[in-house]
Amino acid sequence: MALRNLGRNRRRTLLCLLVAAWGGAALVLTAGFVRFSFDGLREAIVRGGLGHLEVAPAGDFSGAASSLERSALPPALAGWQSLRNEIEARPHVQAVGAAIQFTGMASHADRSAAFLGVAVEPDRERRMGLKVKIRSGEDLPDAAPGEDEDLALLGAGLARALGAVPGDRIVLVAPTVEGSLDAMDVTVRGVITSGLLELDARLLKTHVMTAQRLLGTGNVSSLIVGLDDTDRTAAAKAGMLPLLRQSPLPLDAVEWDTRAPFYGQVRSLYVGIFAFLGGIVFLLVVLSTSNTILMSVMERVREFGTLRAIGTSRLQVASLVVLESLWLGLMGGLGGAALGAGLAVLINHVRIQMPPPPGAVDPMELALRVAPSDLLAALVFIIVVLGVASLMPAVRVARLRVWEALAHD
């Protein structure tokens, strides 16, 4: 009976369905955009140099989330080449690159500035898909530098502070692992940006071998692990832990999001925005459909009176109203999910360029990512909304006085 009642005033039912479907579609599109933003930010963070996992001596991770914050610690990971090879042999691992975090002073002509150094293996970074934004000059070459062929990339702010441009020779001074100071001439290969002004003012990037020569050690600080799929990070870590436990030096692996609390903060912000938007959609759909349902109910007062007169309980007539709304919600929700998915395909087809997500440098092509769970969530949401919208009309129907309802015109 509930389903058939929807066909009584087709225009009103259609209006209700349209409102519900647009609400559902708006949710699907918003969810797709949020997922796109999360994924974009996540990949920007991972591919920006963090990698998916970082393996380092267990003690190094305590109390310091950022690898740059650990730059004061001397590189302690010995025998890292064999460990690197073993991890690289594991499934879904694209590459593993050694990294050293260190600090020191850089001088060019009469200018000096403190730097935060990050030493990497450029060939492996490239295999991992890690990218650096070059402002001028070139990236570090894949091959390890020979003696007196050391190269460095300078953060844009640091290069400006030193007055250095690609091709200039600068002097790096840093404490060795034994505590003395050592100096080294390096050639500026390029000027880079991390996307963060504060970091660019101190950032210096070089080859692991250059840093090892400067610091007087064969060790590295950590190994950066790149996977073929970010979603496999937790599984890859779990699979790696037995191998790390075999190491004489206690080692630990930390996931990318632990080292990027910024991601969690941005995610929370987006979730809050999404919830707010969901609340607005909820209110809009509830208010508009509730009114329509009420109109539909008030036109059938005598019919409800008749149903009550012949023995239908208050709860049963109220349930009839709610059931009609739930049917509307089901149909509107299905329509909304289909509409949202269709619009997402259309929008993705248009290839809209979006500004870079927070923390990223490159603009991104809008690619709304609609997951099946989003479609299901939108469907359930619209059904719930219509259910809520029917409560007030249902209560009014349940409270009708039978004799009055029967006399209603």
Binding site: M1, R302, T306, I310
Partner: protein, 238 residues
């Protein structure tokens, strides 16, 4: 109309029934102290001019409304003290209603309109089908049972309404102006059906009407005027 000898136990018993309605600033006294009893198996016409309180009386007898003062007892239950849920169950199981405007559910077929009452009392589907077919055949609508009310004539709709009122074998059927929306010939046919059901099934009928054709044929007439019973006439065996 004739009627078999009714039992002596009152099915309906009204004592000092009073009911007033407020219409704007005016208080309308629909019933002003009504007393009567209707025995099981009777066919009673409540007659009187428009506004005399017929519908109000039927509403109180059917537990659709509550009296301001006095009592209505139906099958031993005092409707004044019975909660709404209890009155709903009484209406569902022991009463049938026929209305002037038929009041059928437009989205249901004739069959489904009649079946609904049986569904309410929890009759199994197969049994429902059998009983609905049977009662629709009795009222002469066996072949048009799949049609919706809009596809039926006024007389046919009222037959469906009567079938709906009778299908669950109620103790009594309350009919408010059942022929007012019908032409006189169709109205006569419907009243004949009421009399037949009363005779064959022993169901008590209380008909509110101001149609002289019905009043003249009634075995018992309860005459109302200005909210008071001004006459209680019986014709034939009592």
């Amino acid at each position: 109309m004739t009627v078999d000898a009714p039992t002596t136990t009152p099915l309906f018993e009204a004592r000092n029934l009073t009911k007033a309605y407020r219409q704007g600033d005016t208080v309308v006294e629909a019933l002003r102290g009504v007393d009567f009893a209707i025995r099981s198996g009777e066919l009673v016409v409540v007659a009187g001019p428009s506004g005399c309180g017929k519908t109000t009386l039927l509403n109180l007898l059917g537990g659709l409304d509550e009296a301001d003062q006095g009592h209505v007892r139906f099958a031993g239950t005092d409707l004044a003290t019975c909660p709404e849920s209890g009155r709903t169950l009484l209406r569902r199981r022991q009463l049938g209603f026929v209305f002037q405007s038929f009041n059928l559910v437009p989205v249901l077929s004739a069959f489904e309109n009649v079946e609904y009452g049986l569904w309410l009392v929890g009759v199994p589907k197969a049994e429902r089908g059998r009983r609905v077919d049977e009662i629709l055949a009795v009222v002469g609508l066996g072949e048009r049972s799949r049609r919706r009310p809009a596809q039926l004539s006024g007389g046919e709709r009222q037959r469906v309404a009567l079938a709906r009122a009778l299908v669950h074998d109620p103790l009594a059927v309350l009919a408010d102006e059942p022929t007012a929306s019908l032409d006189s010939r169709t109205g006569t046919t419907i009243v004949d059906l009421f009399a037949r059901m009363n005779r064959e099934k022993g169901t008590t009928f209380v008909l509110a009407t101001h149609d002289p054709a019905i009043i003249d044929r009634a075995p018992r007439r309860l005459l109302l005027c200005d909210g008071l019973v001004v006459g209680d006439e019986r014709i034939g065996p009592s």
